[in-house]
């Protein structure tokens, strides 16, 4: 039996079996990673809205926070020429997709009709548009420079929320003296980086811009960066030793239970507090990371539409639904984030939500809106992960602060 008979027979069998393709109905197939209770409920709002307009919904949830699994699935689908109608995406992933494939839909028709340009902040448009064409509809804006403090733990140390780095250290020291873990934190690279975002922003917005967005080697390896790493090392000293690998929601639970004083985490942490029956302002308080009031480091979930021979009717309808102020309010109340458009009334939001919306509007007006490095809105995934490596190595004691700043320059250089 020769190889060639094998090949001939095999080819014949494959040819006979063929491939069946099914005709597509007017449904939207949506790839997303909103699978937890509250998030799934929020997606349900969108689904119902589309149903009233006569479009079915083919759900394609890929579990896994941060969406790296979802991106892997999406890549396979797109390479196979079978892209979904729409996919949830974050920041630079959108730019990467737009830049490398060019297979994204054009939403200009609905964007012009509904006046998106006027109500969506420019910092977000940066990601929703490519070459002046709307390719994505932003659903929400999370901001990452929040601190969540247990109210009774704060009252035990004087009750005044810290407003500067020095005040923060005083509060943390006092909490330590009271015998609780001052800072609840989970040792995962993205959580370390989330704190690093806020620490760098706390040193200065221009510095943040130069280091993370412009990737200026002078800023990445400069004295201010050494200072930022020293602050990280200082914060590390307030974290318990059993932190590595801990999930962020377990760290939130420590604050809720009062075994820890505070957590530095994005606004999705609020959901954990609310689920535990806690009331903003009474059981816990939310402040911006000391020294970053008026600035917002954000990340934004967006629905990117894939090109299906021009944007289809279903895609335009879905984009319009996503940007509907009623949906934006309903979704974000559930999700813990703030609406991506600035003209949504804040009546349904709780105190932290209202503060989030006010801060967002203020930052937008003053140019204080910056993409979050930790969440892929300041630079591409390769560079983001290179920064993660250095930040997490330093936070775990592998580098001292001076070495870390030098390593950061190298790491970013290799990843570019």
């Amino acid at each position: 039996m020769t190889i060639s008979t094998f090949l001939k027979t095999s080819a014949a069998i494959i040819a006979v079996s063929g491939f069946a393709t099914s005709a597509m109905a007017q449904n939207v197939e949506v790839l997303h990673w909103w699978t937890s209770g509250g998030e799934a409920a929020a997606v349900g709002v969108l689904k119902d809205d589309l149903a009233t307009k006569g479009f079915g919904w083919d759900d394609m949830p890929i579990a896994g926070g941060g969406g790296s699994d979802a991106m892997t699935v999406l890549r396979a689908r797109v390479v196979a020429g079978d892209a979904p109608t729409a996919a949830q995406m974050l920041g630079f992933d959108i730019k990467d997709w737009a830049g490398t494939t060019g297979k994204l839909g054009n939403l200009n028709a609905v964007a012009e009709r509904d006046g998106w340009d006027a109500v969506i902040p420019e910092a977000l448009q940066e990601f929703s548009k490519y070459d002046g064409v709307w390719i994505a509809a932003p659903v929400n804006v999370h901001s990452t420079n929040w601190v969540w403090i247990n109210k009774s733990a704060l009252d035990a140390v004087g009750g005044k929320a810290p407003e500067s780095w020095d005040e923060l250290i005083v509060v943390l020291d006092a909490m330590k003296a009271n015998g609780i873990t001052p800072l609840a934190h989970g040792g995962q690279a993205w959580q370390d980086a989330t704190i690093f975002d806020a620490v760098v922003m706390g040193i200065g917005a221009d510095f943040y811009q130069a280091a993370f967005i412009d990737l200026d080697p002078a800023a990445l390896g400069g004295a201010d960066m050494v200072k930022a790493f020293e602050r990280m090392a200082k914060l590390r000293s307030y974290v318990d030793d059993n932190f590595s690998g801990r999930d962020w929601n377990l760290a939130s639970a420590m604050v809720i239970e009062g075994t820890a004083g505070m957590q530095m985490m994005g606004d999705w942490a609020k959901g954990e507090f609310l689920k535990a029956g806690q009331v903003p302002g009474e059981d816990f308080i939310c402040i911006r990371f000391p020294g970053t009031q008026g600035k917002v480091t954000f990340n934004s979930d967006q629905f990117v539409m894939f090109d299906q021979g021009g944007a289809s009717e279903a895609q335009l309808a879905m984009a319009a639904s996503v940007m509907d102020p009623v949906f934006q309010s309903a979704f974000n109340v559930v999700k813990g984030s703030v609406p991506a458009r600035t003209d949504v009334p804040n009546t349904d939001f709780d105190d932290c939500g209202k503060k989030g919306m006010a801060d967002f509007a203020e930052a937008n007006a003053n140019g204080g809106l910056y993409g979050s490095m930790a969440h892929g809105h300041a630079n591409p995934a390769a560079i983001k992960n290179a920064i993660y490596d250095v930040v997490t190595a330093h936070f775990n004691g592998e580098y001292d602060s001076v070495t870390a700043a030098a390593e950061l320059v190298d790491a970013v250089e290799i990843a570019r």
């Binding site: 094998f6 027979t9 095999s10 490398t100 030793d241 059993n242 690998g245 997490t392």
Partner: protein, 291 residues
């Protein structure tokens, strides 16, 4: 007619799987090799960059860490598993009672997936909820065991979990080998007055050579492709202290949008596996010819 059918049937049956293997194994190995020479980032690209990805790969600190960890993990895993497996097999081979009950107990961990092993050991080793916490609760306050949270020791916890999982399987291999030893040889040695220890050291263990070789090949490729255990046990942490080539490859290819570098690391892993398998296959076929 019937002859013709009989002639063709085996080919028809084997052909699809042959074609699938040709395409999905060897085809994609070639494709990966090709990708490793391109500047692919998020999606495969066709822009040729030669060996630039390999140069970058070996400049990366985390690749160094991954290789060092693989050396530590691979050597300890293979040596401890073989030694422990042989020891257990010898103990079981003493014509003990209830061997039928004990053997599956040792073999059972192999039936678990590495994800289960990793998760269970993560809990055992976690100082907050595992052994350390239990010891403290029992009153042994000074007990201290936090390797999994310690950058310098975390890789050894991966070894522990992996050894627990695989040594029973190696034991079964050795047990089969021990059962195959000719009783006459042992009797002859006993008549010559050799002690039990001496018989094992000088006669039985040298006879186990082919089993050692098989065990080595099985364990070595398990070590090189180890991925799920690390992900479940430490997630590559603390920091990146337990990164292995397989976790490195996945993260660079699929989450960091550096597919070119990821592909080149996959090719390096393939070369490592080939360097183990090819001499093995060669020696096997050579033995076959001699017989």
């Amino acid at each position: 007619m019937k002859d013709r059918l009989q002639n063709w049937l085996p080919r028809l049956v084997v052909a699809p799987s042959f074609l699938l293997v040709l395409l999905f194994v060897y085809g994609f190995i070639l494709y990966t090799a090709y990708l490793s020479m391109t500047n692919s980032r998020m999606l495969p690209s066709s822009e040729w960059v030669g060996f630039a990805n390999y140069t970058k790969l070996f400049k990366l600190r985390s690749w160094d860490t991954a290789l060092k960890n693989l050396a530590i993990f691979g050597i300890l895993y293979i040596v401890i598993c073989s030694a422990l497996g042989l020891f257990l097999a010898i103990l079981l081979d003493q014509k003990i009672r209830a061997e039928g009950v004990i053997r599956p107990i040792y073999l059972y961990p192999m039936a678990l997936s590495f994800i289960v092993t990793g998760t269970a050991w993560k809990w055992f080793l976690d100082p907050g909820i595992g052994i350390e916490n239990t010891m403290h609760a029992w009153g042994w306050e000074s007990f201290h065991f936090d390797w999994i949270k310690n950058r310098s020791f975390a890789i050894y916890t991966v070894v522990m979990a992996a050894v627990w999982q695989s040594s029973g399987f190696v034991m079964a291999m050795f047990l089969a080998g021990l059962r195959g030893v000719d009783n006459e040889i042992i009797k002859a040695a006993q008549i010559d007055g050799a002690s039990g220890f001496r018989i094992y050291r000088r006669i039985i263990i040298p006879l186990m050579r082919p089993v050692f070789l098989s065990a080595f090949v099985v364990l070595a490729h398990l070590a090189i492709k180890a991925y799920d255990l690390v992900i479940a046990l430490t997630g590559g942490g603390p920091g990146r202290a337990t990164e292995l080539p397989a976790t490195f490859m996945y993260s660079y290819t699929f989450t960091r949008n550096q597919m070119g570098i990821g592909a080149s690391s996959a090719i390096i892993m393939l070369i490592m596996i080939f360097s183990i398998i090819i001499p093995y296959v060669y020696s096997e076929t050579k033995n076959g010819e001699n017989r």
